[in-house]
Protein backbone atom coordinates (compact mmCIF):
# COMPACT_ATOMS: atom_id res chain seq x y z
CA UNK A 1 0.00 0.00 0.00
CA UNK A 2 1.18 3.52 -0.81
CA UNK A 3 1.17 6.29 1.77
CA UNK A 4 -1.25 9.22 1.36
CA UNK A 5 -0.47 12.83 2.22
CA UNK A 6 -2.90 15.68 2.82
CA UNK A 7 -1.37 18.52 0.81
CA UNK A 8 -4.26 20.96 0.53
CA UNK A 9 -7.18 22.09 2.66
CA UNK A 10 -10.17 24.25 1.84
CA UNK A 11 -12.85 25.24 4.32
CA UNK A 12 -16.12 27.17 4.11
CA UNK A 13 -17.56 26.79 7.57
CA UNK A 14 -19.53 28.50 10.31
CA UNK A 15 -16.19 28.97 12.11
CA UNK A 16 -14.51 30.71 9.21
CA UNK A 17 -13.69 30.73 5.52
CA UNK A 18 -10.36 28.92 5.62
CA UNK A 19 -8.72 26.16 7.62
CA UNK A 20 -6.71 28.71 9.57
CA UNK A 21 -9.74 30.87 10.41
CA UNK A 22 -11.81 27.87 11.46
CA UNK A 23 -9.00 26.47 13.57
CA UNK A 24 -8.32 29.76 15.34
CA UNK A 25 -12.02 30.18 16.18
CA UNK A 26 -12.12 26.62 17.51
CA UNK A 27 -8.94 27.08 19.50
CA UNK A 28 -10.36 30.27 21.04
CA UNK A 29 -13.64 28.51 21.83
CA UNK A 30 -15.77 30.86 19.75
CA UNK A 31 -18.99 28.97 19.04
CA UNK A 32 -20.59 29.66 15.67
CA UNK A 33 -23.98 28.46 16.83
CA UNK A 34 -26.67 31.12 17.05
CA UNK A 35 -30.29 32.00 16.44
CA UNK A 36 -31.64 31.43 12.95
CA UNK A 37 -32.32 34.73 11.18
CA UNK A 38 -34.43 33.29 8.34
CA UNK A 39 -38.05 34.42 7.86
CA UNK A 40 -39.29 30.98 8.98
CA UNK A 41 -37.42 31.12 12.31
CA UNK A 42 -40.62 31.74 14.30
CA UNK A 43 -42.01 28.41 13.06
CA UNK A 44 -39.09 26.42 14.53
CA UNK A 45 -39.36 25.09 18.07
CA UNK A 46 -35.67 25.86 18.60
CA UNK A 47 -34.45 28.23 15.88
CA UNK A 48 -30.77 27.34 16.22
CA UNK A 49 -28.12 26.79 13.58
CA UNK A 50 -24.46 27.29 12.76
CA UNK A 51 -24.65 29.16 9.49
CA UNK A 52 -21.96 30.36 7.13
CA UNK A 53 -21.53 34.03 6.29
CA UNK A 54 -21.41 33.51 2.58
CA UNK A 55 -22.56 35.41 -0.48
CA UNK A 56 -22.39 33.31 -3.64
CA UNK A 57 -22.34 36.42 -5.82
CA UNK A 58 -18.87 37.19 -4.48
CA UNK A 59 -17.61 33.91 -5.90
CA UNK A 60 -19.58 33.17 -9.07
CA UNK A 61 -20.80 34.98 -12.18
CA UNK A 62 -24.57 35.37 -12.15
CA UNK A 63 -25.45 32.93 -14.98
CA UNK A 64 -23.45 30.20 -13.23
CA UNK A 65 -24.72 31.06 -9.78
CA UNK A 66 -28.28 30.45 -11.04
CA UNK A 67 -27.36 26.79 -11.55
CA UNK A 68 -25.63 26.20 -8.22
CA UNK A 69 -27.36 25.09 -5.07
CA UNK A 70 -25.77 26.47 -1.90
CA UNK A 71 -24.17 23.06 -1.28
CA UNK A 72 -22.42 23.22 -4.67
CA UNK A 73 -21.30 26.79 -4.03
CA UNK A 74 -19.66 25.77 -0.74
CA UNK A 75 -18.00 22.75 -2.35
CA UNK A 76 -16.60 24.74 -5.27
CA UNK A 77 -15.15 27.47 -3.08
CA UNK A 78 -13.62 24.95 -0.66
CA UNK A 79 -12.15 22.94 -3.55
CA UNK A 80 -10.52 25.96 -5.17
CA UNK A 81 -9.04 26.90 -1.80
CA UNK A 82 -7.70 23.39 -1.29
CA UNK A 83 -6.08 23.27 -4.74
CA UNK A 84 -4.52 26.69 -4.21
CA UNK A 85 -3.22 25.55 -0.84
CA UNK A 86 -1.71 22.43 -2.41
CA UNK A 87 -0.10 24.44 -5.27
CA UNK A 88 -0.43 21.31 -7.34
CA UNK A 89 0.08 21.13 -11.09
CA UNK A 90 -1.27 18.20 -13.05
CA UNK A 91 0.63 16.92 -16.05
CA UNK A 92 0.37 14.06 -18.54
CA UNK A 93 -2.40 11.64 -17.59
CA UNK A 94 -2.79 13.07 -14.11
CA UNK A 95 -6.17 14.66 -14.81
CA UNK A 96 -7.44 11.11 -15.29
CA UNK A 97 -5.57 9.96 -12.23
CA UNK A 98 -7.24 12.58 -10.02
CA UNK A 99 -10.63 11.74 -8.55
CA UNK A 100 -13.33 13.79 -6.87
CA UNK A 101 -14.97 12.21 -3.83
CA UNK A 102 -17.71 14.19 -2.12
CA UNK A 103 -19.93 13.34 0.81
CA UNK A 104 -23.31 14.98 1.28
CA UNK A 105 -26.27 13.92 3.33
CA UNK A 106 -28.99 16.11 1.88
CA UNK A 107 -27.59 17.25 -1.48
CA UNK A 108 -29.37 20.25 -2.98
CA UNK A 109 -32.12 20.32 -0.37
CA UNK A 110 -32.52 24.12 -0.60
CA UNK A 111 -33.37 23.88 -4.28
CA UNK A 112 -35.69 20.92 -3.78
CA UNK A 113 -37.41 22.72 -0.93
CA UNK A 114 -37.88 25.79 -3.12
CA UNK A 115 -39.30 23.70 -5.95
CA UNK A 116 -41.82 22.01 -3.68
CA UNK A 117 -42.75 25.39 -2.23
CA UNK A 118 -43.77 26.38 -5.77
CA UNK A 119 -45.88 23.24 -6.21
CA UNK A 120 -47.46 22.87 -2.80
CA UNK A 121 -47.16 26.31 -1.21
CA UNK A 122 -47.99 28.51 -4.18
CA UNK A 123 -50.03 25.82 -5.94
CA UNK A 124 -48.21 26.69 -9.14
CA UNK A 125 -47.00 24.13 -11.66
CA UNK A 126 -44.12 26.39 -12.68
CA UNK A 127 -41.15 24.58 -11.12
CA UNK A 128 -37.94 26.22 -12.25
CA UNK A 129 -36.06 24.36 -14.99
CA UNK A 130 -32.88 23.75 -12.98
CA UNK A 131 -34.39 22.00 -9.97
CA UNK A 132 -33.12 18.56 -11.02
CA UNK A 133 -29.61 19.85 -11.71
CA UNK A 134 -29.45 21.81 -8.48
CA UNK A 135 -31.08 19.20 -6.30
CA UNK A 136 -29.15 16.13 -7.35
CA UNK A 137 -26.67 14.85 -4.78
CA UNK A 138 -23.80 14.52 -7.26
CA UNK A 139 -23.99 18.14 -8.47
CA UNK A 140 -21.21 19.40 -6.14
CA UNK A 141 -18.77 16.69 -7.27
CA UNK A 142 -19.70 17.23 -10.90
CA UNK A 143 -19.14 20.99 -10.73
CA UNK A 144 -15.75 20.49 -9.07
CA UNK A 145 -14.66 18.18 -11.90
CA UNK A 146 -15.94 20.60 -14.55
CA UNK A 147 -14.23 23.58 -12.93
CA UNK A 148 -10.85 21.89 -12.68
CA UNK A 149 -10.97 19.40 -15.56
CA UNK A 150 -10.59 16.38 -13.29
CA UNK A 151 -11.54 13.36 -15.38
CA UNK A 152 -10.86 10.59 -12.86
CA UNK A 153 -13.59 8.89 -10.81
CA UNK A 154 -16.30 11.34 -9.77
CA UNK A 155 -18.12 9.85 -6.83
CA UNK A 156 -20.68 11.04 -4.32
CA UNK A 157 -21.34 9.28 -1.05
CA UNK A 158 -24.47 9.71 1.02
CA UNK A 159 -24.22 7.87 4.32
CA UNK A 160 -25.78 10.56 6.50
CA UNK A 161 -23.43 11.82 9.21
CA UNK A 162 -20.43 9.81 7.98
CA UNK A 163 -20.73 10.80 4.29
CA UNK A 164 -17.52 12.79 4.07
CA UNK A 165 -15.50 10.33 6.18
CA UNK A 166 -16.55 7.69 3.66
CA UNK A 167 -15.68 9.98 0.72
CA UNK A 168 -12.23 10.70 2.18
CA UNK A 169 -11.69 7.07 3.13
CA UNK A 170 -12.64 5.74 -0.29
CA UNK A 171 -10.37 8.29 -1.95
CA UNK A 172 -7.58 7.27 0.42
CA UNK A 173 -8.05 3.60 -0.55
CA UNK A 174 -7.72 4.36 -4.28
CA UNK A 175 -4.53 6.33 -3.82
CA UNK A 176 -3.15 3.75 -1.37
CA UNK A 177 -3.77 1.03 -3.97
CA UNK A 178 -1.95 3.08 -6.59
CA UNK A 179 -5.03 3.62 -8.77
CA UNK A 180 -5.00 7.40 -8.39
CA UNK A 181 -2.28 9.98 -7.94
CA UNK A 182 -4.49 12.57 -6.28
CA UNK A 183 -8.00 13.21 -5.09
CA UNK A 184 -10.11 16.12 -4.00
CA UNK A 185 -12.10 14.62 -1.16
CA UNK A 186 -14.42 15.98 1.48
CA UNK A 187 -18.00 16.95 2.03
CA UNK A 188 -20.55 19.69 1.62
CA UNK A 189 -23.89 20.39 3.22
CA UNK A 190 -26.43 23.20 3.15
CA UNK A 191 -29.32 21.83 5.23
CA UNK A 192 -30.73 25.04 6.68
CA UNK A 193 -33.88 25.16 4.55
CA UNK A 194 -37.24 25.37 6.29
CA UNK A 195 -38.32 21.88 5.20
CA UNK A 196 -35.07 20.30 6.26
CA UNK A 197 -34.96 22.03 9.63
CA UNK A 198 -38.57 21.05 10.41
CA UNK A 199 -37.77 17.45 9.45
CA UNK A 200 -34.80 17.35 11.83
CA UNK A 201 -36.93 18.98 14.52
CA UNK A 202 -39.63 16.34 14.05
CA UNK A 203 -37.09 13.59 14.64
CA UNK A 204 -36.47 15.11 18.09
CA UNK A 205 -32.70 15.02 17.79
CA UNK A 206 -32.07 18.77 17.82
CA UNK A 207 -31.10 20.72 20.91
CA UNK A 208 -33.42 22.90 22.95
CA UNK A 209 -32.37 26.53 23.24
CA UNK A 210 -30.14 27.43 26.12
CA UNK A 211 -32.11 30.50 27.20
CA UNK A 212 -29.14 32.14 28.89
CA UNK A 213 -26.87 31.72 25.90
CA UNK A 214 -28.23 30.27 22.63
CA UNK A 215 -24.67 29.74 21.37
CA UNK A 216 -24.21 27.23 24.22
CA UNK A 217 -27.15 25.04 23.18
CA UNK A 218 -25.08 22.09 21.94
CA UNK A 219 -23.44 20.43 24.96
CA UNK A 220 -21.63 17.21 24.03
CA UNK A 221 -20.90 14.81 26.90
CA UNK A 222 -22.58 17.14 29.43
CA UNK A 223 -25.38 15.70 31.56
CA UNK A 224 -27.69 18.52 30.44
CA UNK A 225 -27.16 17.86 26.71
CA UNK A 226 -30.37 17.95 24.72
CA UNK A 227 -29.34 17.32 21.14
CA UNK A 228 -27.45 18.49 18.10
CA UNK A 229 -27.55 21.80 16.24
CA UNK A 230 -27.54 21.78 12.46
CA UNK A 231 -24.66 23.48 10.69
CA UNK A 232 -23.70 24.11 7.08
CA UNK A 233 -20.51 24.37 5.07
CA UNK A 234 -17.89 22.38 3.20
CA UNK A 235 -14.40 21.09 3.77
CA UNK A 236 -12.32 19.67 0.93
CA UNK A 237 -8.87 18.11 1.10
CA UNK A 238 -6.26 17.41 -1.54
CA UNK A 239 -5.06 13.86 -0.96
CA UNK A 240 -1.87 13.00 -2.75
CA UNK A 241 0.37 10.00 -3.22
CA UNK A 242 3.06 10.47 -0.56
CA UNK A 243 5.99 10.03 -2.92
CA UNK A 244 4.56 12.47 -5.41
CA UNK A 245 4.03 15.01 -2.64
CA UNK A 246 7.51 14.67 -1.17
CA UNK A 247 9.16 14.65 -4.61
CA UNK A 248 7.73 18.07 -5.37
CA UNK A 249 8.49 19.38 -1.89
CA UNK A 250 4.84 19.96 -1.05
CA UNK A 251 3.81 21.14 2.39
CA UNK A 252 2.21 18.13 4.07
CA UNK A 253 -0.56 18.85 6.56
CA UNK A 254 -0.51 15.26 7.76
CA UNK A 255 -0.79 11.67 6.66
CA UNK A 256 -4.09 9.94 6.14
CA UNK A 257 -3.06 6.60 7.56
CA UNK A 258 -6.18 4.47 7.45
CA UNK A 259 -9.94 4.20 7.38
CA UNK A 260 -12.30 1.80 9.07
CA UNK A 261 -15.92 0.98 8.37
CA UNK A 262 -18.37 -1.03 10.41
CA UNK A 263 -22.11 -1.14 9.84
CA UNK A 264 -24.50 -1.12 12.77
CA UNK A 265 -27.43 -3.34 11.87
CA UNK A 266 -29.35 -3.19 15.12
CA UNK A 267 -31.42 -0.09 14.39
CA UNK A 268 -31.72 2.69 11.82
CA UNK A 269 -30.76 5.44 14.31
CA UNK A 270 -29.78 3.92 17.65
CA UNK A 271 -25.99 3.68 18.03
CA UNK A 272 -24.31 0.69 19.60
CA UNK A 273 -21.17 0.42 21.70
CA UNK A 274 -20.10 -2.65 19.78
CA UNK A 275 -20.66 -1.00 16.38
CA UNK A 276 -18.73 2.16 17.23
CA UNK A 277 -15.89 0.21 18.82
CA UNK A 278 -15.66 -2.08 15.80
CA UNK A 279 -15.32 0.93 13.47
CA UNK A 280 -12.48 2.38 15.58
CA UNK A 281 -10.73 -0.99 15.62
CA UNK A 282 -11.15 -1.28 11.85
CA UNK A 283 -9.44 2.10 11.42
CA UNK A 284 -6.53 1.00 13.61
CA UNK A 285 -6.14 -2.21 11.60
CA UNK A 286 -6.32 -0.31 8.32
CA UNK A 287 -3.63 2.12 9.47
CA UNK A 288 -1.50 -0.65 10.94
CA UNK A 289 -1.35 1.02 14.34
CA UNK A 290 -1.91 -0.22 17.86
CA UNK A 291 -4.49 1.32 20.17
CA UNK A 292 -1.59 2.47 22.39
CA UNK A 293 -0.37 4.78 19.63
CA UNK A 294 -3.54 6.90 19.50
CA UNK A 295 -2.81 10.20 21.22
CA UNK A 296 -6.10 12.03 20.76
CA UNK A 297 -9.60 11.58 19.34
CA UNK A 298 -12.04 13.86 17.55
CA UNK A 299 -15.29 12.32 18.74
CA UNK A 300 -18.55 12.05 16.87
CA UNK A 301 -19.89 13.82 19.97
CA UNK A 302 -23.23 15.08 18.70
CA UNK A 303 -24.61 16.23 22.02
CA UNK A 304 -27.53 13.81 21.84
CA UNK A 305 -28.39 11.67 24.84
CA UNK A 306 -28.16 8.57 22.67
CA UNK A 307 -24.71 9.06 21.17
CA UNK A 308 -22.46 10.47 23.83
CA UNK A 309 -22.89 7.76 26.45
CA UNK A 310 -22.53 5.02 23.86
CA UNK A 311 -19.46 6.66 22.33
CA UNK A 312 -17.83 6.94 25.74
CA UNK A 313 -18.37 3.22 26.35
CA UNK A 314 -17.05 2.38 22.87
CA UNK A 315 -13.84 4.37 23.47
CA UNK A 316 -13.39 2.50 26.76
CA UNK A 317 -13.93 -0.81 24.96
CA UNK A 318 -11.18 -0.02 22.44
CA UNK A 319 -8.62 1.73 24.65
CA UNK A 320 -9.22 0.04 27.99
CA UNK A 321 -7.54 1.60 31.00
CA UNK A 322 -5.85 4.21 28.77
CA UNK A 323 -9.20 5.66 27.64
CA UNK A 324 -9.25 8.20 30.46
CA UNK A 325 -5.87 9.62 29.45
CA UNK A 326 -6.74 10.33 25.80
CA UNK A 327 -7.91 13.89 25.10
CA UNK A 328 -11.26 13.67 23.32
CA UNK A 329 -12.61 16.72 21.47
CA UNK A 330 -16.24 17.11 20.45
CA UNK A 331 -16.03 20.11 18.15
CA UNK A 332 -19.69 20.03 17.08
CA UNK A 333 -20.40 22.34 20.04
CA UNK A 334 -18.38 24.91 18.06
CA UNK A 335 -19.43 24.39 14.44
CA UNK A 336 -22.67 22.47 14.72
CA UNK A 337 -23.43 19.22 12.95
CA UNK A 338 -22.63 19.68 9.28
CA UNK A 339 -24.10 16.24 8.48
CA UNK A 340 -22.43 15.12 5.25
CA UNK A 341 -19.63 17.67 5.62
CA UNK A 342 -18.98 17.26 9.31
CA UNK A 343 -16.39 14.46 9.14
CA UNK A 344 -14.29 16.42 6.66
CA UNK A 345 -14.35 19.59 8.79
CA UNK A 346 -13.51 17.59 11.92
CA UNK A 347 -10.62 15.88 10.13
CA UNK A 348 -9.29 19.29 9.12
CA UNK A 349 -9.55 20.53 12.71
CA UNK A 350 -7.74 17.38 13.87
CA UNK A 351 -4.89 17.94 11.40
CA UNK A 352 -4.60 21.59 12.44
CA UNK A 353 -4.71 20.64 16.14
CA UNK A 354 -1.78 18.25 15.61
CA UNK A 355 0.13 20.89 13.65
CA UNK A 356 -0.31 23.40 16.47
CA UNK A 357 0.07 20.97 19.37
CA UNK A 358 -3.29 21.76 20.88
CA UNK A 359 -6.28 19.71 21.95
CA UNK A 360 -9.46 21.52 20.91
CA UNK A 361 -12.13 22.04 23.53
CA UNK A 362 -15.49 20.41 24.06
CA UNK A 363 -17.52 23.51 24.84
CA UNK A 364 -20.41 23.88 27.28
CA UNK A 365 -19.50 20.83 29.30
CA UNK A 366 -20.87 22.11 32.59
CA UNK A 367 -22.56 19.12 34.21
CA UNK A 368 -20.73 15.85 34.69
CA UNK A 369 -22.60 12.79 33.46
CA UNK A 370 -21.64 9.55 35.24
CA UNK A 371 -21.96 7.82 31.86
CA UNK A 372 -19.48 10.25 30.28
CA UNK A 373 -16.41 10.17 32.48
CA UNK A 374 -13.46 10.54 30.08
CA UNK A 375 -11.21 13.52 29.31
CA UNK A 376 -13.21 15.62 26.86
CA UNK A 377 -10.95 18.70 27.12
CA UNK A 378 -13.82 20.58 28.75
CA UNK A 379 -14.57 24.18 27.78
CA UNK A 380 -11.08 25.52 26.98
CA UNK A 381 -8.47 24.25 24.57
CA UNK A 382 -5.36 22.63 25.97
CA UNK A 383 -2.09 23.90 24.60
CA UNK A 384 1.02 21.76 24.36
CA UNK A 385 -0.72 18.49 23.51
CA UNK A 386 1.54 17.08 20.79
CA UNK A 387 -0.55 14.31 19.29
CA UNK A 388 1.24 12.23 16.63
CA UNK A 389 -1.72 9.99 15.80
CA UNK A 390 -5.44 10.78 15.96
CA UNK A 391 -8.73 9.13 15.19
CA UNK A 392 -11.68 11.11 13.85
CA UNK A 393 -14.96 9.29 14.33
CA UNK A 394 -18.28 9.57 12.52
CA UNK A 395 -21.25 7.39 13.38
CA UNK A 396 -24.25 7.70 11.13
CA UNK A 397 -27.99 7.23 10.97
CA UNK A 398 -28.30 4.17 8.78
CA UNK A 399 -25.41 2.55 10.60
CA UNK A 400 -22.42 3.38 8.38
CA UNK A 401 -19.82 4.00 11.07
CA UNK A 402 -16.61 5.44 9.61
CA UNK A 403 -13.38 6.32 11.39
CA UNK A 404 -10.34 8.01 9.86
CA UNK A 405 -6.82 7.63 11.27
CA UNK A 406 -4.31 10.45 10.75
CA UNK A 407 -0.69 10.99 11.63
CA UNK A 408 1.08 14.29 12.09
CA UNK A 409 3.49 15.22 9.30
CA UNK A 410 7.03 14.08 10.09
Amino acid sequence: MRRVAVTGIGVVSPLGQSAAEAFEAARAGRSAIGLVQAPFAHRLAAPLAASVRFNGAEHFEAPRLRMLDRASQFALVASSQALRDASVRLSGDEHERTGVFVGTGMGGINSIDEGYQTLYGQESDRIKPFMVLMGMHNAPAAWIAIEHGLTGPNLTYSTACSSSAVAIGEAWARIARGELALALAGGTEAPLSFGSMKAWEALRTVAAIDERDPSASCKPFSADRSGMVLGEGAAMLVLEDWERATARGAFIHGELAGYGLYTDTGHITRPSVQGQAAAMRAALRSAGIEAEEVDAINAHGTGTQANDGVETAAIKAVFGARAGRIPISATKALHGHLLGATSALELVLSLMAMQHAVALPTLHLAQADPQCDLDYVPNVSREGVQARTMLSSSFAFGGTNAVLAVRAAP
Binding site: A62, P63, R66, R126, K128, L133
Partner: protein, 118 residues
Protein backbone atom coordinates in the same frame (compact mmCIF):
# COMPACT_ATOMS: atom_id res chain seq x y z
CA UNK B 1 -43.99 52.49 -25.52
CA UNK B 2 -42.07 49.56 -24.08
CA UNK B 3 -40.98 47.13 -26.75
CA UNK B 4 -40.54 43.38 -26.42
CA UNK B 5 -36.80 43.96 -26.64
CA UNK B 6 -36.93 46.41 -23.72
CA UNK B 7 -38.95 44.04 -21.59
CA UNK B 8 -36.59 41.18 -22.39
CA UNK B 9 -33.61 43.35 -21.47
CA UNK B 10 -35.27 44.18 -18.15
CA UNK B 11 -35.43 40.44 -17.36
CA UNK B 12 -31.78 39.95 -18.37
CA UNK B 13 -30.67 42.97 -16.37
CA UNK B 14 -32.54 41.72 -13.32
CA UNK B 15 -31.63 38.02 -13.38
CA UNK B 16 -28.09 37.86 -14.67
CA UNK B 17 -27.41 40.92 -13.83
CA UNK B 18 -26.20 42.71 -16.94
CA UNK B 19 -25.50 46.34 -17.78
CA UNK B 20 -27.74 48.10 -20.35
CA UNK B 21 -24.71 48.68 -22.60
CA UNK B 22 -24.22 44.92 -22.96
CA UNK B 23 -27.78 44.40 -24.09
CA UNK B 24 -27.82 45.07 -27.81
CA UNK B 25 -29.96 43.15 -30.32
CA UNK B 26 -26.96 41.43 -31.86
CA UNK B 27 -25.24 40.55 -28.56
CA UNK B 28 -24.62 36.78 -28.60
CA UNK B 29 -26.24 35.10 -25.60
CA UNK B 30 -23.08 33.01 -25.08
CA UNK B 31 -21.08 36.20 -24.64
CA UNK B 32 -23.43 37.18 -21.81
CA UNK B 33 -22.74 33.86 -20.07
CA UNK B 34 -26.01 32.26 -21.16
CA UNK B 35 -25.42 28.86 -22.80
CA UNK B 36 -28.07 26.55 -24.28
CA UNK B 37 -29.10 25.38 -20.83
CA UNK B 38 -29.21 28.98 -19.67
CA UNK B 39 -31.49 29.85 -22.60
CA UNK B 40 -33.89 27.15 -21.43
CA UNK B 41 -34.13 28.88 -18.06
CA UNK B 42 -34.39 32.35 -19.62
CA UNK B 43 -37.29 31.18 -21.78
CA UNK B 44 -39.02 29.78 -18.70
CA UNK B 45 -39.00 33.25 -17.18
CA UNK B 46 -40.01 34.76 -20.53
CA UNK B 47 -43.08 32.51 -20.61
CA UNK B 48 -44.19 33.91 -17.27
CA UNK B 49 -43.40 37.53 -18.09
CA UNK B 50 -45.09 37.57 -21.51
CA UNK B 51 -47.86 35.08 -20.81
CA UNK B 52 -46.89 32.89 -23.72
CA UNK B 53 -46.20 29.17 -24.05
CA UNK B 54 -43.19 27.90 -25.93
CA UNK B 55 -43.65 25.28 -28.61
CA UNK B 56 -42.37 21.82 -27.72
CA UNK B 57 -39.91 22.02 -30.61
CA UNK B 58 -36.81 23.95 -29.48
CA UNK B 59 -35.40 26.71 -31.70
CA UNK B 60 -31.89 28.05 -32.09
CA UNK B 61 -31.59 31.46 -30.46
CA UNK B 62 -28.15 32.99 -30.77
CA UNK B 63 -28.63 36.64 -29.85
CA UNK B 64 -30.76 38.84 -27.62
CA UNK B 65 -32.50 40.03 -30.79
CA UNK B 66 -33.29 36.43 -31.76
CA UNK B 67 -35.07 35.94 -28.45
CA UNK B 68 -37.05 39.17 -28.84
CA UNK B 69 -38.15 38.20 -32.37
CA UNK B 70 -39.04 34.73 -31.16
CA UNK B 71 -41.21 36.21 -28.40
CA UNK B 72 -42.90 38.51 -30.93
CA UNK B 73 -43.63 35.61 -33.23
CA UNK B 74 -45.28 33.73 -30.38
CA UNK B 75 -47.28 36.80 -29.35
CA UNK B 76 -48.36 37.20 -32.95
CA UNK B 77 -49.32 33.54 -33.22
CA UNK B 78 -51.33 33.80 -30.01
CA UNK B 79 -53.08 36.96 -31.20
CA UNK B 80 -53.72 35.31 -34.54
CA UNK B 81 -55.22 32.26 -32.90
CA UNK B 82 -57.39 34.45 -30.68
CA UNK B 83 -58.57 36.53 -33.63
CA UNK B 84 -59.16 33.42 -35.69
CA UNK B 85 -61.26 31.99 -32.93
CA UNK B 86 -63.27 35.20 -32.66
CA UNK B 87 -63.93 35.39 -36.41
CA UNK B 88 -64.29 31.70 -36.93
CA UNK B 89 -61.43 31.82 -39.44
CA UNK B 90 -57.73 32.47 -39.63
CA UNK B 91 -56.56 36.04 -39.42
CA UNK B 92 -55.02 38.35 -36.88
CA UNK B 93 -52.75 40.36 -39.18
CA UNK B 94 -54.14 43.57 -37.69
CA UNK B 95 -52.45 43.06 -34.34
CA UNK B 96 -48.79 43.51 -35.13
CA UNK B 97 -46.20 43.24 -32.35
CA UNK B 98 -43.62 45.91 -31.59
CA UNK B 99 -40.87 44.60 -33.83
CA UNK B 100 -41.26 42.85 -37.14
CA UNK B 101 -41.43 39.15 -36.47
CA UNK B 102 -38.84 37.15 -38.30
CA UNK B 103 -40.50 34.03 -39.68
CA UNK B 104 -39.97 31.13 -37.36
CA UNK B 105 -38.70 29.09 -40.27
CA UNK B 106 -35.65 31.35 -40.41
CA UNK B 107 -34.67 30.09 -36.98
CA UNK B 108 -33.42 26.60 -37.69
CA UNK B 109 -34.90 24.05 -35.30
CA UNK B 110 -32.21 22.48 -33.15
CA UNK B 111 -32.42 20.77 -29.80
CA UNK B 112 -31.24 23.87 -27.92
CA UNK B 113 -31.64 22.90 -24.28
CA UNK B 114 -31.93 19.23 -25.11
CA UNK B 115 -28.46 19.13 -26.62
CA UNK B 116 -26.98 19.48 -23.16
CA UNK B 117 -29.18 16.83 -21.62
CA UNK B 118 -28.47 13.09 -21.52
Amino acid sequence: MTTTFDRLCAILARDYPLQPAQLTPDAPLESLGIDSLGVAELLFNVEDAFGIALPAQPVALQTVGDVARFIDSLIAARAGAAAGQAQGQTGGQEETPDAPAQPLAALAPVPAGAAALP
